[in-house]
């Protein structure tokens, strides 16, 4: 199987944007092609990660639209939807296209346009991923987070403040990310005094509603240096995808995300590394509690100990294992289909030494993208070209 390199990357500014989804996708796609030094008509495959452009905007067929806008016809195109993990699923699909030999040059663009909808409407679009017996009770993804956070705090005797410290850390990291929706620090009191959204979680425990796009260019590692200098590409050394139950309450342990466990085991095995070899990670902190769950289920910390790592500063930018140097979904924003691509963008920037003020010492990084409430997950490991 061919090893796959990422030779170009871009992301738009995340936040409230005037542009609609087609324009956002084109903005990121064009920039990534320029970063790799290739044109649209060089592409064999073009994928668009997007959860709900039809529901949000009434625009379907986005992958074909983007191929036309980037003069990429007749490249094979497909839209990849895996709810909030559409971006990670897109990375998997793009990797697969090159690793299998089906494509010698693939562009992946993830994007979503959401902010023109009210919070209530956007929440309902996202909640539509739930099973009918969940949906009819008015469950939302934030309410799953509230229930899981309550159970976690109770089972592991974790203080409520530890969740707030995830928000404080990730907002602090976001200050140095020029693409982030919020580039403003918050203090713990602000987090803990913010309005309740899903008890015990409050407003600052949640990511915002966001517009934005991110893109990556993939090719076989064997030809990467034909496009870019040797220190400007990264290799996907491991990748895995997995699902957990659709119905959240059927999981035997509600504080364990089986899809994270399974997808990361596959990725670690493929890369020939383990959790201790990861230098930096981007986790899907759509809600603060998810950073605890993923950091444990990825094997970084023992079950029930993830909160202690945050309390002790282990996951700070200058800690032993920096998590969410980009600011995470919490500060950077969460344009559904773009998020998994933007996570890999951050790891790409870190392992190629191009992360600017956010730079940490990293040869190997991991991105974990979660759809639903752990329903579907993709874990990718990137390594610097060495």
């Amino acid at each position: 199987m061919e090893r796959v390199a990422i030779i170009g990357a871009s992301m738009t500014r995340f936040g409230q944007r005037d542009a609609w989804v087609r324009e956002l996708l084109a903005e990121a796609g064009e920039a990534a092609l320029a970063d790799a030094g290739v044109d649209g008509d060089d592409l064999d495959h073009l994928y668009v990660s997007n959860m709900a452009s039809g529901e949000f905007e009434g625009q379907t067929g986005v992958s074909n639209a983007l191929a036309h806008d980037l003069a990429a016809t007749p490249a094979y195109t497909a839209r990849i939807d895996q709810t909030s993990a559409s971006g990670g699923a897109g990375v998997y699909g793009a990797w697969q296209s090159v690793a299998s030999g089906a494509s010698d040059l693939t562009l992946l663009v993830g994007g979503e346009k959401m902010t023109h909808r009210s919070t209530s409407e956007a929440t309902d679009v996202i909640a539509s991923l739930t099973h009918p017996v969940e949906y009819k009770h008015g469950v939302t993804l934030p309410s799953f987070a509230g229930m899981t956070a309550r159970l976690y705090l109770d089972e592991y005797d974790a203080p409520r403040e530890s969740l707030g410290k995830v928000a404080v850390k990730n907002h602090r990291n976001g200050v140095d990310n020029p693409h982030a929706q919020f580039r403003k620090e918050v203090d713990l009191d602000t987090v803990l005094d913010s309005p309740i959204v899903a008890d015990p979680l409050r407003l600052y425990d949640f990511c915002p509603i966001t517009d934005g796009s991110a893109a990556l260019v993939f090719c076989p590692e064997s030809v990467a240096e034909e496009y870019v200098p040797e220190d400007e590409y990264a290799v996907i050394s491991g990748i895995g995808g997995a699902t957990d139950t659709h119905v959240v309450h059927e999981r035997v342990d509600p504080t364990t995300m089986g899809g994270v466990v399974d997808s990361s085991e596959t990725a670690y095995e493929m890369a020939g590394v383990g959790p201790d070899d990861i230098d930096v990670a981007e986790l899907h902190d759509m809600f603060t509690i998810l950073e605890f769950l993923q950091s444990e289920d990825l094997g970084f910390f023992e079950k029930g100990e993830g909160w202690k790592a945050v309390e002790e500063g282990v996951t700070d930018r200058d800690g032993d294992l920096p998590i969410n140097t980009s600011g995470g979904l919490k500060s950077k924003g969460h344009p559904l289909g773009a998020s998994g691509v933007a996570q890999v963008y951050e790891i790409f920037e870190q392992v190629t030494g191009d992360a600017g003020a956010r730079q940490v010492e990293a040869d190997t990084g991991l991105a974990c993208n979660v759809g639903g409430f752990g329903n579907c997950v993709t874990t990718a490991i990137l390594e610097a070209n060495q």
């Binding site: 209530s120 679009v125 909640a127 009770h137 008015g138 309410s143 899981t148 899903a198 959240v248």
Partner: protein, 154 residues
């Protein structure tokens, strides 16, 4: 598959016109709510269990204050685990549901009961859990009645 056409494997009988709280039983003895085509281990479905008359314990809960269109606000939700008896050794049988309001169970204006982890609750049927026409999902694509949970007096 309607509840009344399904083979009841719990020995119970339908009572009145209130729909059953239908869980599925599979050939290997496991039970799930909601029912699936096959069980968690791939075993075929052999019948149904009605959870209406069973008590459950609150596993966890939340009160959501940012609810979607057509949903009561605030909306207290709980994941509960049913008591399946000593003879059952499958995975836990749980449901997610709204916490009931005191008095008129159809009233959305009243504050839901207070619940805590470990509390004992029982199902109570409600005709409309949310306004079917207000959200994104096609109203005819699913049912909108169901069971809320109210505390059991000790």
């Amino acid at each position: 598959m309607s509840d009344t056409e399904e083979t009841r494997t719990d020995g119970g009988e339908e009572t009145g016109t209130e729909p059953a709280f239908e869980a599925a039983e599979y050939a290997d003895g496991t039970v799930t709510y909601p029912p699936h085509t096959v069980g968690p281990n791939g075993a075929e479905r052999v019948g149904s269990i009605d959870l209406r008359d069973r008590e459950a314990q609150v596993v966890t809960w939340t009160t959501s204050t940012a609810t979607p269109p057509g949903v009561r606000e605030p909306n207290t939700l709980a994941i509960v685990e049913f008591e399946m008896g000593d003879g059952y050794d499958g995975p836990p049988v749980r449901a997610l549901g709204q916490v009931a309001t005191p008095g008129d169970e159809s009233a959305d204006a009243a504050e839901p009961f207070d619940v805590a982890i470990g509390d004992r609750v029982e199902p109570v049927h409600t005709d409309d859990l949310r306004d079917p026409g207000a959200g994104i999902r096609e109203p005819d694509s699913q049912s909108w009645d169901g069971f809320r949970f109210r505390p059991v007096d000790e």
